[in-house]
């Protein structure tokens, strides 16, 4: 079985982020790392594709030929990677990115495509279903467990009330939520091996796409203004006067957490 995992390479959240003052988009010129949310997708894929002849391929779109984040996924155990890097991709919105990823994923001819529910730098959460739609594939979101049964997948799909059991033919796109699996640490041997694993470098033209469909040229979104988020308030201190438990329950109910 061939499983593709889409991996987003993002600026290290530990370093202070910055916006490009010209475009108001995130500055991605420094070293990029694999988005933490993709750890779960890679781990899930490695667990599903653990049999003889199975293979996990990573697909990523990033500026400047960046592979640092991909190497992390390769060190965890993925066999190879496809990287799409092209100046024409700067300023891509989610749909433009989806077009590029869909075209690249198709080259790997996968049985299953695994993605994180959303990235931790963009949080649009729209990309996976756009990719599925563009590829004409079914998609199942918010998977908390996946099992393969012949040519179908069975997914436990997280809902507010519990979970749904969804059976879906393959190939399909599945998004996984954080915490569904315990991502492995890349072993030192894996890190060393990742250095020599193949990374196919592609441009927009290689994918047969027109530059006008992607990047800022093809983007349907425009960032017109950026403002600082509101400073976080100090919160409410509840002094327990014998009714602490009830007040905590009332607070959580108000948030609809319970």
């Amino acid at each position: 079985m061939n499983v593709v995992v889409c991996v987003k390479q993002i600026p290290d959240p530990v370093a202070p982020g910055a916006l490009d003052p010209g475009t108001n988009t995130l500055n991605r010129s420094g070293k990029l790392i694999m988005d933490d949310s993709d750890n779960y997708g890679v781990e899930m894929a490695l667990q599903l594709a653990g049999g003889e002849g199975d293979e996990v391929t990573l697909v990523s779109m990033a500026p400047g030929g960046e592979t640092s984040g991909l190497r992390t996924g390769l060190a965890m155990g993925a066999a190879k990677a496809i990287l799409i890097s092209d100046e024409a991709l700067a300023g891509s919105d989610a749909l433009g990115t989806a077009k590029v990823l869909a075209a690249a994923i198709a080259r790997a001819n996968p049985d299953l495509i695994v993605m994180a529910t959303e990235s931790t730098d963009g949080y649009t959460g729209t990309l996976p279903v756009q990719v599925a739609e563009l590829m004409g594939l079914p998609s199942v979101t918010f998977a908390k467990a996946i099992s393969i049964e012949g040519s179908t997948i069975k997914v436990e799909r997280q809902t507010e009330a519990g979970f749904d059991e969804v059976v879906c033919p393959m190939p399909a796109v599945v998004t996984v939520t954080a915490g569904v699996v315990e991502p492995r640490y890349p072993s030192f041997k894996g890190i060393m091996a990742a250095k020599s694993k193949p990374v196919e470098n592609l441009t927009v033209a290689d994918l047969g796409l027109d530059a006008s469909q992607v990047g800022s040229a093809g983007s349907g979104q425009e960032i017109t203004d950026v403002s600082e988020s509101e400073a976080r308030g100090s919160g409410e201190i509840v002094v327990d006067e014998g009714d602490g438990a009830q007040r905590v329950v009332a607070f959580l109910e108000q948030l609809k957490v319970i």
Binding site: R71, A75, Y185, P186, S187, F188, I191, M192
Partner: protein
């Protein structure tokens, strides 16, 4: 061989993440209970930590010393005791790499690299610490075996190790042997005579091991009989760089704790980090931390280049360990009362630091090693000119 810089950075970063998620949240609790970190050690084995410096042809990773000290610094940042599990193992493996026969390397290094068997180094005795020539543990040749009798002291990992690099006195003088045993308090003629209670460095056991008519094959002699001391002392050079790297990790942990607390804690209407008394401390702590790291790196680079580094390793061990002691105390002063409690790990850093001052050759001995090394080099230069 020098490790690729990207690979080195990725490995050290992986250990940093492992320590942040798996070690730091549990270290203080295990340490206070003096419990061996079984789960952490198993994860370390899976990462490949026991084969870092063992050559690839023997199942290791063949990574360079700079990678190794980076890994050690990160482990010590979380819990210094974890480095003890790796360091003694690595020194025993290094003894076999440098002084073992090809057959001995093939026999022991692969099982050490995988972590299947963990190693310990056993040099000291109750009456032979700094004075290693006073070693009285005997290895009596008996046909194709040696019979070991005596007591060894301060054996880190002595109980949990499966392979012990042992210094014992044979007819030819002090010789180095490999003793294979099953982990546990008793195996054939070997028994744990005493588990040391310690100020810090808890979790990992430090024991006295008694050998009573314990037989080992004559083929377990490492190198030439009677040459054990210089062989083991050459491994101690690596041990001193290890200790310096541990000290850098503990110092960094103490400094980070002090820096964070100084920004959170408010007195007289402002964070204490804005008081000059605290700023002076932070500046000195950070400067000494940086100097420790550079001295350690310098010693490692010299060793990697195949240059003599007794002086540099001694300097790194001396300075970094004294710095760990001072900076952990400074971090506690910044914290005030709360730093003295067991709620925060600062008290652990403070209790762990003296191990580095005393272990692997006391700092008094380091000064003598440094001075003698300097004088020897001066003499060599004088002869050359």
């Amino acid at each position: 061989m020098t490790t690729d810089a990207d690979v080195r950075a990725e490995i050290i970063d992986t250990v940093r993440r492992f320590v942040a998620r798996e070690v730091i949240p549990h270290a203080s609790e295990l340490e206070h209970q003096d419990r061996f970190p079984t789960a952490m050690v198993e994860q370390m084995r899976e990462l490949g930590l026991f084969g870092v410096t063992i050559p690839e042809e023997y199942g290791g990773l063949g990574l360079d010393l700079l990678t190794y000290i980076g890994v050690i610094e990160e482990l010590a940042y979380g819990w210094m005791s974890l480095t003890g599990v790796v360091n003694t193992h690595t020194m025993a493996a290094t003894l076999i790499i440098h002084h073992g026969t090809e057959a001995q390397r093939q026999r022991w290094l692969p099982i050490m690299a995988s972590g299947e068997r963990r190693g310990a180094l056993s040099l000291s005795e109750p009456d032979a610490g700094t004075d290693t020539r006073n070693i009285s543990c005997r290895a009596q040749r008996d046909g194709d075996e040696y019979v070991i009798n005596g007591t060894k002291a301060w054996v880190t990992n002595g109980e949990t190790a499966g392979i012990v690099a042992l210094a014992a006195r044979s007819e030819e003088g002090i010789s180095a042997f490999i003793v294979e045993k099953e982990p546990g308090p008793q195996f054939e003629g070997i028994s744990v005579a005493k588990r040391e209670g310690k100020l810090g460095y808890k979790g990992v056991e430090t024991v006295q091991m008694a050998y009573t008519d314990h037989h080992i094959p004559a083929g377990n002699l490492i190198g030439e009989a009677g040459r054990g001391l210089p062989q083991i002392l050459s491994v101690l050079e690596l041990g001193r760089i290890n200790i310096a790297a541990r000290a850098v990790g503990v110092t960094r942990a103490a400094f980070d704790a002090g820096l964070a607390y100084a920004q959170q804690r408010t007195t007289m209407g402002k964070p204490i980090a804005e008081h000059q008394a605290i700023q002076l401390k932070l500046a000195d702590m950070a400067t000494r931390l940086e100097a420790s790291r550079l001295l350690t790196r310098n010693a490692a680079e010299r060793k990697m280049a195949g240059l003599r580094c007794d002086v540099e390793a001694g300097m790194a061990k001396l300075f970094a360990s004294e710095t760990a002691l001072e900076v952990s105390m400074d971090a506690m002063r910044i914290h005030g009362g709360v730093g003295y409690t067991t709620d925060l790990p600062v008290e652990r850093y403070y209790r762990d630091a003296p191990l580095m001052v005393i272990g692997e050759g006391t700092n008094e001995i380091q000064r003598i090693v440094i001075a003698r090394g300097l004088l020897a080099r001066a003499l060599e230069q004088g002869t050359a000119s």
